[in-house]
Subunit: 510 residues, 2 copies
């Protein structure tokens, strides 16, 4: 071992091991040639053979045209590789309609978004959960005529089970809560970031596959739970730069509808269906809405009264109509009062027309919207105290929300708030000679063991290429492994922001 | 505003806002009653009505039995909630066979594992990518008789497209690389952590749905790329406490087989099929293997020679048989040489029987195994230089690996290395009076804005319950919001590890 390197022995086992094997001393004896690693690393000779060697068979079997170099096996180095398929069909290089690839730049954005979902959930003391993407179809089939049912990606699996790609996360959550039963102490505060599918016409911020952030509170009957959930979404918006002048929440309660329907002695069984019809108010003509409401058994008078109530945008006005004694008004008043305490009053407004498109909501419902009115709902949620019993479980008070990953990105684009995210690698390590590739690997290992990120250049490339790559990956330092320095147990370092350049001993490389 | 509180004005807008509205002054005037928020927050009166109110309709419509309290709307407070479904069927509370729920404790483990996957990938300068879970079926249909094809979750979507839940990530990666074409500078170093499906018999550490960590290098023809990949897996093992005495890598090259087949003039088209047959060597009887090999056109002699070569466990022996001039031996020698430099020689061993079960590998192949031989392969990978052209793209040198999330967990269990992961929440905030729930919300908001995690108690619960919950969520501090303290602009703090207890001004709460 060269004296200068023996002091490194204590530093890193790799360094000492390098010099313990004669094989790796070779670089000190070689000039700066362009020999490949393969050429210098081991002598190219056949070892004595006991059996007939395959190479002799090869020579005999190969035709002259297959072996242009005239005998032996050297031709094998350029032999055509095996063809895996008989017929090559050009595939569609795009992902299936409505789905997405996430190349690095898209993935950085997704990770940034999910990181914020998770950080906010963590601030609120929620625990992360997940469920299978492929669920039993029965979990999602409700009889209320929801849009979601017609959009189900469902099929029969090889075991003849009807399964579906989940269109939402809440039914799976309900299933898990029933399964856990009394083994989990309430309340549960759970969140999930999961992929969901719906087969539908695509519009801006709406694909067939998307991710959804859910937060749910199981076991709290009071509106404090809904208030906490809206607070967490507000915290999320603030974190990513969205203000109360960009978005707001429309808030109402399904109990408003329930009280209206009760007045007209309309069967409670129709409740879910009526909600689903009303949710379409902004999407289909009002006459169509009226027709649908009548078709489920509402009188002309009830329909008119209902539509009048739904147009109310003020809690005071609602109280005038419904009276102050019902749960709907009391819940909403408590929610608006808590909003003051949480500090997000300016974000929320009462709007009786909000009912949400899922059948299972029973109380407060809310949705986040962009104030410019350009986009679909950003998020939505509410109370669903009766969902568990629809699956045969014991009901528990529950509420939650879903927040998709698509509309929010559209909004961030609109507002010029998309973050600039780029790859950041601390070091790019490069061997100046092909025969120093092994040494460069050692340097990379040492840095990585210190927690430093390293892009190791894996081929023999000109320095110009290396600098270009360093720029593209935003490397902070270029570590050059050259023969002269390596013989002294040193490497060259170039700080790429300043251009500063120096040599450093391997054991002093931090 | 009480003088003691006016000093808080500068501290936080929420605190000042609390006192700006007469509504929220009420708590200073109220005695420590148990009035609910709803009762004190707004006067309970109906505002003058312009139209016939719904409550009057309700009174008329309700039968006495429905409205036991004798008129008015107070009965609505206990009215039965709507039933969403006509018939309640008890659903299966378990996830579909072969899939998993991730309740919090399982999710913490998954997050820990994925975090390590990501951190290692980042150390190696790889960028994260992802692809659709639902891909075109054509992407996974190869003609080599792979196990993976028969296990495909495939179906026809509502647009009559043949789609499949991805059984692996590599074909999607290849598709994206072809799509990006020359717009991305090589080499690409990409990683992904994605969910995959295969319909198969379940065994230990093998489910129908699993997650897979992939790292791939596109554009590097040299074995330096494979060496880098194995290095990253070794780094991962070390991070989670797995040593070279727990696991190892069996390494070979498909070129070994290729050279043998070439000697016997066996068509290159059969290469993939032969590999798939050989991959089953440890799973089905040897006579069956021989029969299958003969059925694709190999002579008795070729089969015997092939099986002899496959039994080789030493690189020196391999060189004796194949001669030293071929690519197989040269590649493997270079890889073992680089392993020395990277520092993981003790982790790898040559084993000619390793071919891997995917048709597309063309060069180095490797798999991670537990040395006790109890489990299936932990991970596996190799070079696939010809995959892109099977999709109609221009070939690029490429290699990568897949590392599942199931077998590794089994191994960690075996070795007693599963980490203890528990929920950690910094604060639990609790109102001592129901009418201080709003105040507690304010305290929670202030702490969260400072980046502190807070579990806010959302119901009026006895202190005993609160302490129990605090213990379960590993809260560090209990913040108590009581009337006497709150009037002084203070809250009570109890450090739960030491029992230390003190009062602190809201603006001094860190």
């Amino acid at each position: 071992m060269p004296p200068i390197l023996s002091s490194l022995h204590a530093v890193h086992p790799l360094i000492s091991r390098l010099y313990a094997k004669p094989l790796f001393l070779s670089f000190t004896n070689l000039s700066h040639s362009s020999l490949s690693l393969r050429e210098f690393s081991l002598p190219r000779q056949s070892f004595p053979v006991k059996v007939r060697t395959l190479s002799s068979i090869a020579s005999a079997a190969q035709s002259p045209s297959e072996n242009g170099s005239g005998g032996g096996r050297s031709g094998a180095l350029s032999a055509p590789p095996p063809v895996l398929e008989e017929a090559v069909q050009k595939i569609d290089v795009n992902p299936p309609k409505g789905t997405r690839d996430f190349p690095p730049e898209e993935m950085r954005l997704r990770n940034w978004l999910f990181h914020n979902f998770r950080e906010v959930s963590r601030l609120y003391g929620f625990e992360e959960v997940d469920f299978p993407v492929l669920e039993s179809e029965a979990l999602f089939i409700r009889k209320a005529g929801e849009e979601i049912r017609d959009q189900l990606y469902c099929f029969e699996d090889r075991g003849n089970r009807r399964v579906a790609l989940r269109p939402e996360l809440t039914p799976s959550l309900a299933r898990l809560v029933i399964q856990k039963g009394k083994s989990v102490p309430l309340p549960l505060k759970w969140f999930a970031v999961g992929q969901c599918w719906r087969y539908e016409r695509m519009t801006r911020g709406r694909r067939r596959e998307h991710y959804q952030w859910n937060m749910d509170i199981i076991g709290v009957p009071e509106v404090t739970a809904e208030a906490e959930l809206i607070s967490s979404i507000v915290t999320f918006f603030k974190r990513i730069g969205i203000t109360a002048s960009d978005v707001g929440f429309k808030v109402s309660s399904r109990k408003v509808l329930q009280e209206v329907l009760k007045c007209y002695s309309i069967s409670e069984n129709l409740f879910g269906k009526v909600c689903i019809i009303i949710d379409k108010i902004e999407k289909i003509p009002i006459d169509e809405i009226k027709k649908e409401l009548k078709s489920v058994g509402m009188s002309e008078e009830a329909v008119e009264e209902l539509l009048q109530v739904l147009s109310i945008k003020s809690l005071t006005k609602l109280e005038e109509i419904l009276g102050g004694a019902g749960e709907a008004v009391a819940d909403l008043k408590q929610l608006f009062s808590l909003a003051e305490n949480f500090g997000y009053s300016e974000w929320i407004q009462f709007d009786a027309s909000v009912v949400r498109g899922l059948a299972y909501y029973t109380g407060i419902v809310f949705e986040g919207f962009d104030r410019e009115g350009k986009l679909r709902a950003i998020c939505g949620g509410g109370r669903y105290d009766r969902l568990l019993s629809t699956f045969g479980g014991d009901d528990l008070p529950a509420c939650g929300f879903g927040f998709g990953d698509a509309v929010i990105v559209e909004l961030l684009k609109e507002k010029g708030l998309l973050p600039e995210l780029s790859l950041q690698v601390e070091n790019i390590v490069c061997a100046l000679d092909p025969d120093l590739q092994g040494a460069a690997s050692t340097v990379a290992t040492i840095l990585r063991e210190k927690g430093q990120t390293v892009d190791l250049v894996l081929e023999n490339k000109p320095l110009k290429w290396v600098f270009k790559r360093a720029g593209r990956i935003n490397a902070q330092r270029l570590i050059l492994v050259g023969n002269t320095e390596w013989q002294k147990g040193m490497v060259g370092v170039k700080i790429l922001s300043s251009g500063e350049q120096y040599e450093v001993k391997l054991d002093e490389l931090e």
